[in-house]
């Protein structure tokens, strides 16, 4: 296993001295997980592997942009992998947004900026939180993250009124906010 701090150390080693051993450790941990995550959306194994490989190469390129005070390594890699998946879909005919646009959310900020409370320990909390969602709420969140569906597409697929899907999303995100704000305060 790789603790959040160990993972952040590895990325900083890449940024500081192009450390290939650190990259290999990150790759061993995250490439198979990213591949498994991408396959959940119905992507075939070969394509999912390509996404994982491209994502980890992007981690190498952008290592100096990582800020452990603002996001966990898992969150950062999720963001990169998500964008790689979109790039791939774009090649298959769907337009998409640039990786950098979204990475600015986690970009390093000035010293006086609020540090994100989500760095580091939240993985466990977020997992607990997902366990606490109702089945109805969980399914909309999973469809968004795993299957790349907009809330409109989710409503169509589940044959639910758009308002019902919106309120499930708002309830789920309300619980997420509540649970994390407890830690923030």
């Amino acid at each position: 296993m790789l603790s959040p701090d160990e993972a952040a150390d590895l990325i900083e080693a890449i940024a500081a001295r192009q450390d290939r051993a650190a990259f290999a450790s990150l790759f061993r941990h995250y490439a198979p997980r990213v591949k498994a995550f991408i396959m959940r959306g119905g992507t075939d194994a070969e394509t999912a592997q390509e996404v994982a490989q491209e994502a980890l190469i992007m981690v190498w390129r952008k290592a100096a942009s990582f800020d452990r005070g603002r996001a966990s390594v898992a969150t950062w890699i999720y963001t990169i992998a998500r964008n790689k998946r979109i790039d791939l879909a774009r090649r298959a005919g769907r337009p998409a947004i640039e990786t950098e646009d979204w990475l600015t959310v986690f970009a390093p900020e000035e010293a006086d900026a609020d540090k994100s409370v989500l760095a580091g320990q939240t993985y466990t909390r977020v997992k607990e939180l997902l366990g606490g969602l109702s089945a109805d709420q969980l399914v909309v969140i999973q469809k968004a993250f795993f299957e790349d569906k907009t809330h409109t597409a989710i409503a169509e697929e589940l044959k639910l009124p758009l308002g019902t899907v919106k309120s499930r999303i708002r309830l789920a995100l309300g619980r997420l906010r509540e649970a994390l704000e407890k830690e923030e305060s």
Binding site: P32, R61, V73, T75, R170, L176
Partner: protein
């Protein structure tokens, strides 16, 4: 912030499912609204937890070796310099910067407002609009979805007052006629799925031009 983006749109954005135009609108709102920024961070953490929680697929040593070989041609980039808006575009948040080409300038449309059209892939019309204080947009109603983010100044219509960072979603139930607030000119990003339909006396005359993308 009195007008946040709806949370289901933040989820779509965080999960990467929005088309380029709406994604740009949400990214500007996120850049300007701390609460929206925090929610998108939380959703990123959720995505990270989902990845971390995966059971690792069987590991392929050859894939690691081929990836390491590819790193020879890939430089570790230095940390990007802090964003500085280009002169004349001080109101432009960072995610907008890549869409502002050199030599872009405001074009007067109806006499009361100016437009700068952005070229994004996808099926939305994406524009920056600038309204002098006290001036309005022509009376119109929405046909497709419409997203507005205020970047400078503010405007008021029948649904309320919108300031910097505020996010408005169409189609609204009624026709509306936004008027720019006193002070600085109002600058906003407008993302429209289908052409708006003008409903005033001159508007009806202009609709064919709007439909053809002339204005």
């Amino acid at each position: 912030m009195s007008h946040p983006a709806p949370e289901e749109l933040l989820l779509d954005y965080a999960a990467g499912t929005l088309a380029p135009g709406p994604a740009l609108a949400v990214s500007l709102h996120v850049a300007l609204d701390p609460a929206a920024h925090r929610m998108v961070e939380r959703l990123g953490a959720l995505g990270g937890a989902l990845v971390e929680g995966e059971t690792a697929a069987p590991f392929d040593e050859a894939l690691l070796q081929s990836t390491l070989a590819r790193l020879d041609g890939v430089a570790v980039e230095s940390r990007p310099a802090p964003y500085v808006p280009r002169p004349g575009f001080e109101w432009a948040p960072e995610p907008l910067a890549r869409h502002l080409a050199d030599g872009m300038r405001w074009k007067r449309v109806f006499g009361s407002f100016e437009e700068m059209r952005l070229r994004l892939p996808g099926e939305h019309r994406v524009s920056l609009l600038r309204l002098e204080p006290g001036r309005g947009l022509p009376m119109h109603r929405h046909v497709g979805e419409e997203f507005t983010v205020v970047l400078q100044g503010g405007y008021t219509d029948s649904t309320g007052n919108y300031g910097v960072g505020d996010f408005a979603v169409g189609p609204g139930p009624e026709q509306h006629e936004p008027i720019a607030d006193p002070g600085e000119p109002c600058i906003a990003l407008i993302v429209i799925e289908k052409p708006i339909v003008l409903t005033g006396p001159f508007g009806r005359f202009l609709n064919p031009l709007v439909r053809r993308g002339v204005i």
